[in-house]
Symmetry: C2
Subunit: 131 residues, 2 copies
DNA sequence: CTGTATCCCACCGGATACTG
DNA sequence: CAGTATCCGGTGGGATACAG
């Protein structure tokens, strides 16, 4: 990413090099840790930093911050800072982010049943220890 | 990819730690380079190793092999070896892999229009150099 | 509470060369 | 042609400590 002049997310759609129109979406939505963050935000609504960290149990504050910043920059998440003592920050899915919901549902639906097939394929490929 | 001893793809669906039912799918389908490989296979049908490498222009043979092996193990791609001289190997999407097509179409559809919004969000976040 | 700042290491993937 | 074998550098992310 980030090389010469200004490769935007959109023009990568037509980039001949990859010739894969969904690569940019994958970079934005499915890079490491972004899916759990988005999903948690989608499943539990607006919530604070600590709630997110607790729910995405193995994530460190550093990484969580990085992902949240990226998602905020991409317009998928909205950050609200409340200048109180102690400070309170809330995150929520943006309107744009919400348009991903059907996609996630689709993913989730595919997982049902097909994940099992993947497991079976792996076992068979590995020499079928369970038979 | 790091699926050694116990945790299968399927049981990660119910793993409390992530509590994100689509994470396993993301690991399988959207890890690095897998999307371009699957897309190219989907777009151009059964093809040989070199064709794939040529179409996914920046991929190295080593990485291409790794991804193809992974996809074959997961049952998403079928490898056919023809014992000729010189050897000929063909790859194609499996039946299971084909069930991903609607999903990819969905992704592609989301990209249309929304990618542009992401770009705008980024420019605004970065300080809007184009205004 | 909500992050930053460092240190550090494992691993991915690029480059290159070589084999059946 | 279809890979494998090595070397190797950059980077993501874990652990830990600290700041506003």
């Amino acid at each position: 990413m980030a090389d010469d002049a200004a490769p935007t997310a959109a023009d990568r759609t037509t980039e001949p090099a990859l010739a894969c129109p969904i690569s940019p979406v994958v970079d934005i939505v499915f890079s490491r840790w972004t899916t759990p963050v988005l999903w948690t935000l989608h499943a539990h609504g607006r919530q604070r930093f600590m709630e997110l960290q607790r729910r995405i149990s193995r994530i460190t504050p550093k990484v969580l911050t990085q992902r949240l910043r990226q998602l905020e920059r991409d317009g998928l998440v909205v950050r609200t800072y409340h200048p109180e003592v102690p400070p309170r920050v809330e995150y929520e899915i943006s309107e744009l982010g919400r348009t991903l919901a059907p996609l996630f549902a689709h993913l989730s639906e595919w997982a049902t049943g097909n994940l099992e097939k993947v497991d079976r394929a792996r076992r068979e490929y590995d020499g079928d220890p369970a038979r």
